[in-house]
Amino acid sequence: MPSIKLQSSGGEIFEVDVEIVKQSLTIKTMLEDLGMHDEGDDDPIPLPNANAAIFKKVIQWRTHHKDNPPPPEVDEDKEKRTDDISLWDQEFLKVDQGTLFELILAANYLDFKGLLDVTCKSVANMVKRKTPEEICKTFNIKNDLPGTNKICLWTSKLILYF
């Protein structure tokens, strides 16, 4: 099976099955731009925005999902679900927050919609059903909104209803 070489930002080279990375528009475009259709061509494709550790995880995910079709178009009228992450994906995404966000960035950069979908869903699940204070705590975010007595009217009113 044909494989191609990809080089992460740190210079590490990964040899991967073409099938696995074919869905990535980014890589596909690079292949075309660099004119690397011939089999004999051995130069690795540089991916300056992907570091080795995250890249490895992405490849791992893509390998597991290589037979899956790309995710279908979203039906705007249907409520978006977050409870349909497969068990394998759930295990795969049991990582620290930093890694999770890196995965989102990588999925975005490499244009792997399925991975982007499932990682965003994961983060959404971390946010769901939490109060603002709890969210701040979970993500170590500093609440820089003005104090309650000068608070934005909209949001303070809104919180009363939910």
């Binding site: 978006k80 679900r81 059903r129 934005c152 909209w154």
Partner: protein, 463 residues
Amino acid sequence: MNCSVTGTSSQVLLDSDLSMRTLSTPSPALICPPNLPGFQNGRGSSTSSSSITGETVAMVHSPPPTRLTHPLIRLASRPQKEQASIDRLPDHSMVQIFSFLPTNQLCRCARVCRRWYNLAWDPRLWRTIRLTGETINVDRALKVLTRRLCQDTPNVCLMLETVTVSGCRRLTDRGLYTIAQCCPELRRLEVSGCYNISNEAVFDVVSLCPNLEHLDVSGCSKVTCISLTREASIKLSPLHGKQISIRYLDMTDCFVLEDEGLHTIAAHCTQLTHLYLRRCVRLTDEGLRYLVIYCASIKELSVSDCRFVSDFGLREIAKLESRLRYLSIAHCGRVTDVGIRYVAKYCSKLRYLNARGCEGITDHGVEYLAKNCTKLKSLDIGKCPLVSDTGLECLALNCFNLKRLSLKSCESITGQGLQIVAANCFDLQTLNVQDCEVSVEALRFVKRHCKRCVIEHTNPAFF
């Protein structure tokens, strides 16, 4: 986050994605005039460095620099707490994450920090408002939400297309007026179970939201009609025909609806394709006659539990001819084979028929149905005690596409009839034979021939 103040020792918090800012709605001004003397550092719960300034937040364009003169306002760059790793995500990724959150959670997110405040109000996230809960003050919630969304486009929310507040029982006409007045682009409205809603509010929505396609007022028992308000009627030219462009209308459990009301609805909503009138018990065949005169495009129709509907009504429904795909006449006890024959003869493309509880149906009716509506995918003839194996045989030999079949409480069915069905309808996915006298062998036969079939039964010996 954005910060409007600059100065020699200013701490300027540049938004990491200023270019993205143009896409998101500027938040309402948290304006406190910068020279307000009484405004002091540290008041309020937050002691973060950025709360000390009374600046406006999040503008689309970088604001002109202003000099703060109040002595107490410090702009020193205090050492920041370690930046949260989630801040590394660009705005469009955050918006994507937020797109999975329900309306109420989005509002909570807006309170987390300034960046999240701006992102939470991104117009792309506000095509739909979905609220649930019996106790929430949904009128106020809608008022506040729509006001926020109208921020940049005075008095109208151009982005809002769907409002779903089903089950929010405290919804009153006021809440609906709010939506009607500021959502001209509304396409879907679901207020199922909001029983305080009355006709006037519905008329307002329908008149002010010309793009409305989908309206679910099931359980709104005060609603007896769908029509335009008087003002709207006057405005629309005769050429326009006073049309309401609704295609999907669910008036299940609007039990005060009568034939005249249905007449008016039909005359206005001529483009209806999906109409559900379950348990609108006052309707009679006359209402159906009006309906079919005006609404020739109906694909799905339910008049289940409308007990006055009889064969005459079915004769009217049959005029929908090959457009009709889905029909439910469950528990319309006056229906007999005569009515079924009309429907079968003219509506040859019928895919789904629910005739549960139509006790007048016999094998003749089923036979006629089977021979004419060969595309039937789903049939419910439960509680039709006169249907026997003979009818089943006809069904089996003509309707090969049958996927769902319910024969619940059909006393005359035996295992033999079942086996013939199983032997011919390979696509069968669900079979309901509860309270039927069928043997375990017959059920096993079905399982063997229809591998994907799920059988609902009351036979304890079969598993």
